[in-house]
Symmetry: C2
């Protein structure tokens, strides 16, 4: 692990603790998987969930990028939460309140025996209660799905955050923050059946 890649060289006050990393991956749903192909940066946004000290990602066994990563290419998995726009007096002091995290390393494939339970875990994190409402995975479905994990160790991650009001206010004009929220809307049904409990709970 290149130490510089996991060390903040600027604004060390924005370095954040492990709980921020957990929040970021637990709330962002979508993360960005970066890797290197023929010396070039390669990137794809995908669902990533956290399970304790590992990140989980999954996709089709036919997905070239996922196979590349499964074969040991180094990855950097990043996610962020944009919490607010920070409005200052001077454009220079405008900023964002955010939380972000990156985990680096090499993915390993989740063994076939654990694919079903790991996929359940994946769905459970995105839509709690949903796996129990679905029929069991078929052998064919499991065989078509690649599930990868990336360990979160003591030193292969970085988390950053900024919070609070803008800096350098003079009191001569308005400064403050504009919160950014993400929320679920009313489900759009493609069925005459009643909403499942998982969906009702998610949308509150």
């Amino acid at each position: 692990m290149n130490e510089a890649l996991c060390t903040l060289t600027r604004k060390p006050d924005r370095a954040a603790e492990r709980d921020v990393l957990d929040e970021v991956f637990d709330r962002s749903l979508v993360a960005t998987v970066s890797t290197v192909v023929d010396g070039q940066p390669w990137v794809v946004p995908t669902f990533v969930i956290r399970d304790g000290n590992r990140l989980l990602l999954h996709g089709s066994t036919g997905a070239g990028a996922l196979r590349h990563v499964a074969n040991g290419a180094p990855v950097a998995v990043s996610a962020f939460l944009l919490d607010a726009l920070v409005v200052a007096e001077r454009q220079f002091e405008h900023s964002a309140n955010y939380r972000s995290a990156v985990v680096r390393g090499t993915c390993t494939e989740v063994g076939e025996a654990d694919t079903a339970t790991t996929l359940d875990l994946f769905t459970e994190r995105i839509l709690p209660g949903r796996p129990a409402e679905c029929p069991a995975h078929t052998t064919r479905e499991l065989a078509a799905t690649l599930v990868l994990e990336l360990a979160i160790t003591g030193d292969n991650w970085i988390a950053k955050q900024r919070s609070g009001p803008p800096s350098m206010p003079t009191g001569e004009s308005w400064v403050g923050v504009i919160p950014v929220h993400s929320a679920y809307g009313t489900p759009v049904s493609d069925s005459r059946c009643p909403l499942p409990n998982s969906v009702c709970r998610l949308i509150g």
Copy 2:
């Protein structure tokens, strides 16, 4: 340009047109800049805006990553909009409605003479009307800011999307989509001055 990096090898039906790329970068505000450092993937989320056929990013001249990218390291700038969770009967068919885009290439530095107007453009895209409300940039502020552009050409980008209901419904249980919205909340003032017009307009 490695052609494979800009070609979808799976699900070509999800390849999208240039207007999707524009929507993604115009609405996401935050994008992910991926590059390669010593053969390792390196990534940072940052504000990125689109201006016609270029993406603009900026930061402190003291930011190591930005300098690396300014010095010609290849980048992949990606962004996504998560539009909805797609709930199907089988876990295997669960998905997401999304729009995503990646632009690849090498950044060039915006010349000093254009830094001020480009920074105005940057702020204008995030908080329309704000540059006109702020005092002029100082020479010191401009000197401390690095502004980079990445051209969007005919063939250095990819856009993808999924929309619509889940596939493979049998009619035996509910299927549909749960929209995901992002919105601005009530501004948090750190000042007794009245809200500026730009902020009032943004929050509607």
